[in-house]
């Protein structure tokens, strides 16, 4: 069993490396995060308005963003597998498969509700706080509490 798996095969965002990260090697992810956060803000993906326009089919913008991101992702993963590209540390790249659970339906719908209300998925929450909308820190705390509550009642939920 890998580090994150806990009977519900939730391995999102998993560290597939066997090499121990140090504080210094983790700075790489800080830098990638900064670049990512800048794109989030400059493309206005973190805008509540863009999310409303997406769900009310008023604008193509978010479909273009997500669609082109997925296309680049699919091609990248295909190339990595096809040419057996290694990490910069020389490791084989490991991607955990996702296994189906009913949680993807129930949880997916609930997250969809939250996404349309807050206009944010978890990533944009961090960026929104960075743009100076400090009250979103409350939304983030509430999301952490929601995550905790899921862990608390997980075994009673259908999966």
């Amino acid at each position: 069993m890998n580090n994150l798996e806990n009977k519900n095969s939730d391995t999102e965002g998993i560290n597939g490396s066997q090499i121990k990260d140090t504080g210094f090697s983790n700075l790489k992810y800080l830098v990638v995060g900064i670049a990512f956060g800048i794109v989030f803000v400059k493309a206005e993906i973190i805008s509540w308005y863009r999310i409303q326009e997406m769900f009310q089919l008023q604008s193509f913008f978010m479909y273009g963003v997500i669609g082109s991101a997925v296309m680049v992702g699919i091609i990248s993963v295909w190339l990595i597998k096809k040419f057996d590209i290694k990490t910069i540390q020389g490791e084989k790249i490991e991607i955990q498969p996702k296994t189906f659970s009913k949680g993807q339906i129930y949880g997916g719908l609930l997250f969809g509700f939250g996404w349309a209300i807050t206009g944010a998925c978890p990533g944009p929450l961090f960026a929104q706080i960075g743009t100076g909308v400090t009250v979103i820190a409350v939304t983030l705390l509430s999301a952490i509490l929601g995550t905790w509550f899921y862990g608390f009642i997980k075994d009673k939920l259908p999966h």
Partner: protein, 189 residues
């Protein structure tokens, strides 16, 4: 127009979408990390309030890259706002603008409407639902679904995982139902 002024304009989807997609191979190649953001919330729980719950009993330090990544997203937000800020108000579709005006939401000077997301608003019923209940649903729903837009819609579909496609379709259905059928009632509160 110089380069900084171009960067200050809102970036088009065909620039930002592919840049977001590139995060997938970059994270894999620099350290075998699978792209996913909502997992950071789980690590924060594991770090701060594990409360002996099995779901939070794992070596969160091994996953700490994710916390550096989200700290970076926060700093990216700071940098984009203070160095590359668009001087003009956010452009929104006339339909949305007209709709929001009926709920008294007219201040479009920021990326999120100030009439909904502010400390004053937090203590109204409408603001509480938008800020607190919305956040709770995001945290609970993503974890129940085993991922969010990044973990499922981008990373999972990039790896051609059909459960991620199911999750993504459900995110969209939930969003459509909320934005079109339920949110109008919340906004009228």
């Amino acid at each position: 127009m110089n380069i900084i002024e171009i960067l200050k304009e809102p970036w088009p989807w065909y620039v930002s979408g592919p840049l977001i997609g590139l995060t997938v191979p970059i994270l894999l190649i620099i350290g075998n990390k699978s792209f996913g953001i909502s997992s950071s919330l789980r690590h924060i729980c594991a770090m701060c309030i594990p409360a002996n719950i099995s779901f939070f009993k794992y070596d969160w330090k091994k996953e700490s890259w994710n916390l550096f990544f989200v700290l970076g997203i926060f700093l990216g937000g700071v940098i984009a706002t203070y160095l590359l800020s668009n001087p003009n108000p956010v452009v929104i579709t006339p339909e949305l603008s007209a709709q929001l005006a009926t709920y008294g939401i007219t201040d479009h000077s920021g990326l999120v409407p100030k009439d909904l997301f502010s400390w004053e608003s937090l203590f109204t019923l409408r603001g509480f639902i938008m800020i607190v209940v919305g956040g709770f649903l995001v945290g609970f729903g993503t974890r129940y679904a085993g991922g969010c837009t990044s973990g499922h819609a981008i990373m999972g579909i990039s790896n051609l995982q059909w459960p991620s496609l199911v999750a993504t379709i459900c995110f969209m259905i939930g969003g459509f139902i909320m934005a079109n059928l339920i949110l109008p009632y919340i906004l009228s509160l």
